[in-house]
Symmetry: D2
Subunit: 301 residues, 4 copies
């Protein structure tokens, strides 16, 4: 695999292989930025991987009062799942357990479009007959009586049918600290890109996995990228790589994922090999599985 | 229902009715306090209620390097579930998806005892044969190769068979702001009590529910505590109550839940009715369901 | 509780309390009646109760070639769930795992109406791009290549929004054998009623449950109807009752459930107290939970 | 791929690639063979594949009264899952919903060994305090009061840690009818082999799948074995193959799976190419995933 060198950082001539997913977005508001963020963090927790968590979820960005339907502080969150039905299930379960329950919260569509998922329509049953529907500005909302007043929830939210899951960067460094610094710089840069999330803890995964295992239906560690196994396996790591971290990116569109990867690469290059990473790569399955291929050479600064 | 008045706050002569649950605790460590906390927050997210989330989960407290097995920063988290099997499933699923994956993390038993749950024993399969077992100081650990080095995970953790779920306080105020201030004061005080969590967002639930609904197998809003329904239903609310918030408490022992409720009541009373809540109550099912009854009059300051 | 006596069988002056559910129906066909039935039995298995199984499922009736869309042998099955999303999830999961996989099977809508669920639309992804859509007689179908030819699956099926779950009869007898004979007679009679299923094994449940338990979020045995506990609890059983069996009935409409209960009562009365049951009752929650009340006195022969 | 020809049936020089699974066995009894079988069929339904159903489940064989712990008619069933925890969850959920509820049933360990799963210990909570433990012949049982008397359930059952999942045969014929006849003959022969199940409907799957899809985390059709795609893809099928059916075999041991495959091959060969199948193959992933390889040439008659 040939590689480019940009400002001292080696960039593999490879590509991230990504998949088609279904996605949606929500706007969660509250009386304060703190409580809007709290509701979002609780709702989007335990959402790192569709296999174990049912969905991949995260915060897109914080919203000012000017940007929300009710003029309060808000957070826009994104959810990605394998199918429309899984997405619907996760959406209503998470909103019912973690937004509806959060002090002072309201919940609105985070995207609009021709196809929709049930939002308030799905959680309204909690009202046990006391829920009220109202139309306002061409949209429909449910008002459910709760102990601190009312939970206002838009009836539906939009469905993104061609969302993209599994964009990624492999950040490789000569030390644990440098690799983490580079990955954190990439996460910060990608945070500013709209319409994407990084579902792993703090945006970073240190557990690269391969498809398959000697146990049926399990994923397992990708030994080719484990520094401690360099001598024992057919390693993908150079001598100077002591640590690898992955940034997984899910986006509402192919363009959003490309913009996020581009921003992440730029941030890692900007930090440079001394303080950050010495090499950037990406994960794929040989190109045979996922229909979206993001070549690093097309995204470099 | 007669009531006590303590420093101007009315305390209902009632009790919180709580249930037997299974629980466990974990110690999650990382190279920095920030990353230990990030792993804990992601792992414990979407864990407000056993019905919708499979478990109730939260942070007990942050740990100094002196308090952790590996001398790094840490967080102690608690998980509660309805049965041992559910707890085991949630434990390994959450650790596998959210701790194993988090940069630099390690995971240890957060309690010890005669009965145990599988911790490293359950997630070790991710190592696909490269995992190594080691004994140290009388305990067994697994070391799994990951991309930033190794994930160290204790083989088992302890099971608390007589944990208590559903301790609670109903905080009632004359305004939304005062009620929230009182609930936040209670949350802060309870945070300092060991061996308990408050699983709802930021520790507070605003969606009191009753058992049953006209829809099969659903919970629904507890209309008796909804201020907007006061005129329409047989309300439990006085004229001066404009908002109600609930603090749900799960604890490893009955004593821990009692201590937490006591701390919460004291904090609300200390804040007083002008700046905080005018009344404190608790939720129960008439005493026929849960075996643990926490009477407010026994816990008042 | 007063009671009627019809041909020697005591009929309690009580009612079955039932709930609103979402339901759908499928027509499963195959090259032989045997394989159509095999696909249906596998697909509808492990579907006794929404709590533990996600849906309640069963066979409505077998269909002659004249009654099916493709002129082959068929079986009509019904699925009931708590919400539209749960129903959609169960529908596609069960069809994908158990109908799609069954030799020679095809799958069609079992009811039509304004609102629909995804059927072929949801499982078509198995075709990995080789699936073909066709319209025929005003309906749309998917054709997925499989190893024995093609799996034909209608794009959608109908959703019954006011289906009824939890119709029931309690069959009480002086001996285990007589009670089972009476319950089996009722099952056979109800089998002939269209648009209903009896989701428990062979149509019969012997484990009456009450809401709640000393363990959080569990159901538990209804001790008032357990003959072995007669001396120890406030029993609902007379001296001459040695065994109780319950027939739970879910139907697409209120009328279908009423017709099924009527047919079951008639069959038990017809068998008489000597060879069958001495008493008939029904389960309810005091009338406060479920909106549908089926009074036995209105349904007696 | 060279092939053998045995009595006119071509046998591919290939192997079935199988995986390590966890398994357990139960003995379900009732007052009649019919009700024992009914309980088993309901309990083991919707158990074709671990991915969609959580476990793979089926009937090993029917038991005479001489073979059961309580001298009644019985059925031995097997359950296979990916992990011990999944297996425990499926075990207790299925027994609680479908055996406990079935008229006159009892449930016992179907295998014994050093390691155990919770059986009665897990479902005893249904008794809500009325359950009784008893020891008899060195084993422990729970007795739970139910409406037709008592549900007797052994406290634990054995865990098979080196069970094998994914043994398989691909039966290829010149006509749909011949292929089905050959597959049915193989199923009948394998039914007589102890310690194995065939989890698909009637023992047969017609939907061969490959790992991966252009959609994330999905399986998809194995186009190489779809007769209708022969012209469009790199097909694995000869000119004379018009239909393919797969028999998937899970067994408690490697030897049991080998014996089952041997019995299936012999039955297909015995039927011959005129009335049955013209060719036999097996599915694998190139040998890199599953640790168990069953070569057809070692198992031929």
């Amino acid at each position: 695999m040939r590689e480019l060198i940009v400002k001292g950082v080696r960039i593999d001539d490879t590509f991230a292989e990504a998949f088609e997913m279904r996605a949606t977005a929500l706007t969660i508001t509250a009386d304060s930025a703190r409580w809007a963020r709290q509701a979002a963090v609780t709702t989007m927790g335990f959402g790192t991987s569709v296999i174990g968590c049912g969905c991949e979820a995260g915060i897109d960005r914080e919203l000012t009062p000017e940007e929300t339907p009710d003029g309060r502080f808000g957070v826009r969150v994104l959810l990605f799942a394998v199918s429309r039905t899984e997405l619907q299930q996760q959406l209503q379960n998470r909103v019912g357990q973690c937004v509806l329950t959060s002090p002072g919260s309201a919940c609105y569509a985070g995207l609009h479009g021709e196809e929709t998922l049930e939002l308030g329509n799905a959680v309204r049953f909690f009202g046990d007959g006391w829920q009220i529907s109202k139309r306002f500005g061409g949209r429909r909302y449910w008002r459910l009586p709760v102990m601190d007043g009312e939970f206002v929830c838009e009836a539906t939210t939009g469905l993104a049918k061609q969302a993209v899951g599994g964009g990624n960067l492999l950040v490789m460094g000569a030390s644990a600290g440098g690799t983490l610094a580079a990955a954190e710089a990439a996460v910060k840069a990608i945070d500013a890109v709209p319409d994407v999330i990084m579902p792993f803890p703090g945006g970073i995964a240190r557990s690269g996995s391969k498809v398959g295992s000697k146990y049926k239906a399990r994923a397992s560690t990708n030994e080719a990228y484990c520094p401690t196994l360099r001598g024992a396996v057919n390693s993908a790591l150079d001598e100077d790589v002591a640590s690898v971290l992955e940034i997984v990116i899910d986006g509402l569109t192919r363009e959003a994922v490309a913009a996020a990867m581009r921003a992440g690469i730029a941030a890692v290059v900007r930090l440079g090999p001394k303080r950050g990473a010495v090499r950037l790569g990406a994960g794929n399955y040989g190109g045979k599985l996922g229909p979206y291929h993001f070549h690093l050479k097309d995204l470099r600064p």
